[in-house]
Amino acid sequence: MIRVRTTVNGRVREAEVEPRRLLADFLREDLGLRGTHLGCEHGICGACTILVDGEPARSCLMLAVQADGRALTTVEGLAPGDGELHPIQQAFHERHGLQCGFCTPGFLLTTHYLLARGEDLGSDEELRAALAGNLCRCTGYQNIVEAVRDAAARLSQGGLR
């Protein structure tokens, strides 16, 4: 067993883990942060996307021990409070950018990363390419693309939390 000390959504978490334990399992099973979903466990679908020191990462392709000393953001860390939604979440809600919701946490964190860069989202083709690391089987992506643009507009007014 190896000791891991990591910051998750601003809180320091420490635990003893097996060296082989996946980061996704550590988050879900050990910390109870079940908003991170596993859709393929081979790094394609992007449902398990989290931010590691601000960069998107597949938590199914990382070991828990690799998160030692890092700062992680999961979907649970986005909304400012219980009754509130983050502007990105609000945009997905209003644009119907989700159906079953299983892939949604990954899309939200990818979007967070894209918007935090502060760069222009570019053409639809460029934005769609930037989102192509996340699979969705329900929406056909159209409303996700619109939600991301809507979120960008909201955040350009309020700034990314």
């Binding site: 939604l85 299983f102 989102l131 159209q142």
Partner: protein, 775 residues
């Protein structure tokens, strides 16, 4: 109205089956067959069981002697039985068939233990495709069968042979439709808990059909239905795959009973590729005949359905539906179809959005385009000439009776929305520059509002087509709707809440919809599928809500000393027409009904509750046009969208946002079928695709922006007028994409008769093209 479940989903607070945690819960994994066809000589679990933390290993030999086979609820006349069990008893027939379940303290440990299982196999000869399975001397999957044909279905109207003999033009083609699967982002999973004290089994499972799961478990385990409670947590998409009842659900229940502990199994993606039902795969030889002026006189189709190793929950239903849809929306008086359901050593085939309709649509629409090509006619004109006319409804084709349709006007609208003439001009200009742009425009019809029960039963389906709506108003005037249908992400509970709110005169926020609990929710005849939730489910809830409203109004009228006929209700308030200040609230009514029955009219029973059944008179038939504009790069074989339009009519629309989302998603799946997705097997039945690296689910970069337009022709057979929209997008899109690619490659004389249209195929077609057709 925005969806009520969104905040929970967006905040990561929703609980799917993999998030169900029970005290003392153990974890299960399955050992699956690595062979397409083999005998199991022995399974030795001693080394696995010796590992600390391993609680049980069950294989076929450990199954109770009286355990029933996994049921098939579609028992079409004359089909052969293909019994299979929760775990293979002595023989496996496909790679991925469950052989043993290993139960341990953690999933990691269970996987370690699985490595230690020693299985002695005796390999058997196998077949990996339908044509090989039908060849003389082919290995047989089932002892005692003369061949590998599980069932044959035939139907005919008119005299197809005579019509073909007299025709001016005859188009013949062999179509190959690939093996796909629904592939929801959330795989399957189940958690079972056995309460020995009361003899009750609780199963959390990611399903579309909780009552079917309950009933089947009851038959298999010989437990009474009321001692089985099936609970459905959040479901991460289903698309038909989760309509089915699976061996793993039985095995997890058995493991919970054997260990006395709750047991959770969560399918991983790799096992989903072989463990979850596949779909679609057919070879169809079809013929269409027409007169010189473009009137279609006959269609015939010889269908071979690749069922895989067994007839799963819905038997060969999708293949049957393909066969009877071979006239699509056209008034074709002569038609003959024969469908043969063939078993092969591959994962069983079953449901996926559209059932057999995408295949039939692909075949018929490709043939119609073929007729237009042979006649040098405009494909739009050929379609217009052959539609069933509005005054001909109800119209019966090969089997089904269509409720209504205004096909020609919808097609005209689609031509306008697409701006077909402008695209034809751009196509010409592109060709002049050596670019290959193509336009495909096809027509679909979708079978929705599945019922009626008697028709289903007469066809051999061991299920009804009804739905039961249960509506209750509480003391505080809030409303709870209980439905046996399931929320899978399609958002139907929002529509149900709107329908109930409208009928009752309350605000939708005052309505809670409860689903996914067989102890609380009424039975639905068929489960959540066949685009029936909004239509049949909505109608049953509307009926119940209206009945409840009548009682609430009677109470309110008594309280207000006014005639019921003079009352109006909205947003939970009831007032006397013309004097808005004379009102009571639903909370006042609820209080009287439950706490102060002294305020009720003389002779009225307390309580505010209604249960009503809706069994549709017939199915409903939404329809529409898909129009795709593509550019094909003949150097790389890449197909790129320039435009995509879908114009449709799904009857009355309750929530336009949800309807549009259903179309977007369905069309994306149809584009996957047309261009990317295929579960490939070798000739012996070994899978060649098993990850998202080789099974290509479309991403945002491949799916175009889709332009939608709606018509609204209410269904005459559904009380709300709602037809349904769940499957439409997936049905009509593959044929449109195929037509567009063929149109783009017209200078090469290419015919698109097989999917998916991969770059390799495009390059082959271009290289082999006859080049003898009109440029």
């Amino acid at each position: 109205m925005l969806r009520r479940e969104d905040p929970e989903l967006l905040k990561g607070k929703a609980r799917y089956v993999a998030d169900v945690v029970r005290p003392g819960m153990l974890h299960a994994v399955f050992l699956r067959s690595p062979f397409p066809h083999a005998r199991i000589v022995s399974v030795d679990a001693s080394a696995a069981l010796a590992l600390e933390g391993v609680h049980a290993v069950l294989s076929g030999a450990d199954l109770p002697g009286d355990l029933g086979p996994q049921p098939c609820n579609h028992l079409y006349h004359g089909q052969r039985e293909t019994p299979y069990f929760a775990l293979a008893r002595d023989r496996v027939r496909y790679v991925g068939e469950p052989v043993a379940i290993v139960v341990a303290e953690s999933q990691y440990l269970a996987e370690d233990a699985r490595e230690l299982l020693q299985v002695e196999w005796e390999e058997l000869p196998s077949v990996g495709d339908v044509e090989a399975a039908l060849a003389d001397g082919a290995p047989l999957l089932y002892d005692g069968w003369p061949d590998n044909v599980a069932a044959v279905y035939e139907a005919e109207i008119g005299d197809a042979d005579a019509a073909i003999a007299e025709a001016d033009v005859v188009v013949r083609e062999r179509f190959a439709i690939p093996r796909l699967f629904a592939c929801p982002l959330e795989g399957r999973g189940a958690v079972a808990e056995w309460d020995a004290a009361v003899g009750e089994l609780t199963l959390w499972t990611s399903t579309q059909s909780p009552h079917i799961v309950r009933d089947y478990l009851s038959w298999i385990l010989h437990l009474p239905e009321h001692r089985i409670r099936v609970l459905v947590p959040r479901v991460g998409g289903g698309f038909g795959a989760k309509f089915h009842f699976y061996p793993e659900e039985t095995a997890v229940a058995l493991a919970a009973r054997a260990t006395g502990r709750p047991v959770r199994w969560v399918e991983d993606r790799l096992e989903s590729f072989v463990g979850t039902v596949h779909a679609r795969q057919q070879v169809v030889e079809a013929t269409m005949a027409a007169t010189a002026d473009g009137r279609i006189t006959a269609v015939t189709a010889e269908l071979l359905g690749d069922q895989g190793a067994a007839l799963h929950s819905v038997s060969y239903g999708p293949l049957w539906l393909s066969a009877v849809m071979m006239t699509n929306v056209y008034a074709i008086r002569n038609a003959r179809v024969r469908a043969r359901a063939v078993v092969t050593n591959k994962t069983p085939s079953g449901s996926y959005r559209g059932w057999g309709q995408p295949q039939a649509n692909f075949v018929v629409e490709r043939l119609v385009d073929g007729v237009a090509r042979e006649l040098g006619a405009d494909p739009v004109d050929v379609r217009r000439k052959n539609f069933v006319a509005p005054e001909e409804f109800p119209y019966t084709g090969l089997f089904h009776t269509f409720d209504n349709g205004r096909y020609a006007s919808l097609l005209a609208r689609a031509v306008e929305v697409l701006d077909l003439p402008a695209w034809r001009r751009r196509q010409e200009a592109a060709r002049a520059e050596g670019r290959h742009v193509g336009i495909g425009l096809t027509f679909y019809v979708e079978n929705t509002a599945l019922g009626p029960s008697r028709k289903l039963n007469a066809g051999g389906v061991l299920a009804g087509g009804y739905d039961i709506g249960h509506v209750r108003m509480e003391t505080n005037g809030e409303v709870i709707v209980y439905s046996g249908l399931c929320e899978l992400g399609q958002g139907f509970t929002n529509g149900i809440a709107q329908i109930a709110a409208d009928a009752l005169g309350v605000h939708p926020d005052q309505v809670t919809v409860v689903t996914g609990d067989t102890h609380a929710c009424p039975v639905t005849g068929y489960g959540t599928g066949a685009s029936r939730s909004a239509s049949v489910g909505g109608a049953s809830v509307q009926k119940a809500a209206r009945k409840l409203r009548a009682k609430a109004m009677a109470i309110a009228g008594h309280m207000l000393e006014a005639s019921v006929d003079d009352l109006e209700a909205e947003n939970g308030e009831i007032w006397v027409r013309g004097s808005r200040e004379r009102f009571v609230t639903m909370a006042d009514v609820g209080r009287a009904a439950y706490l102060r029955p002294i305020e009720l009219p003389e002779g009225m029973d307390p309580g505010l509750e209604a249960i009503e059944v809706h069994d549709p008179e017939w199915m409903a038939w939404p329809y529409g046009v898909n129009a795709a504009v593509v550019e094909v790069d003949v150097e790389t074989g890449e197909v790129r969208f320039l435009d995509y339009v879908c114009v449709h009519d799904c009857g009355t629309i309750v929530n336009p946002m949800i309807v549009e989302g259903q179309l977007h998603g369905g069309i994306a799946q149809g584009i996957g079928m047309a261009l990317y997705e295929e579960l490939r097997y070798d000739r012996d039945g070994y899978p060649l695709t098993g990850t998202f690296m080789d099974y290509l689910v479309p991403t945002a970069a491949e799916v175009p922006r889709i332009r939608l337009a709606h018509d609204e022709t209410p269904s005459p057979v559904v009380p709300t007028g709602v037809k349904g929209i769940g499957e439409a997008g997936a049905i009509g899109s593959p044929s449109a994409v195929a037509a567009a690619v063929e149109d783009a490659l017209r200078p090469f004389g290419v015919r698109v008769a097989e999917l998916p249209i991969t770059p390799e195929r495009v390059l082959d077609w271009v290289a082999q093209g006859t080049g003898d057709l009109v440029a």
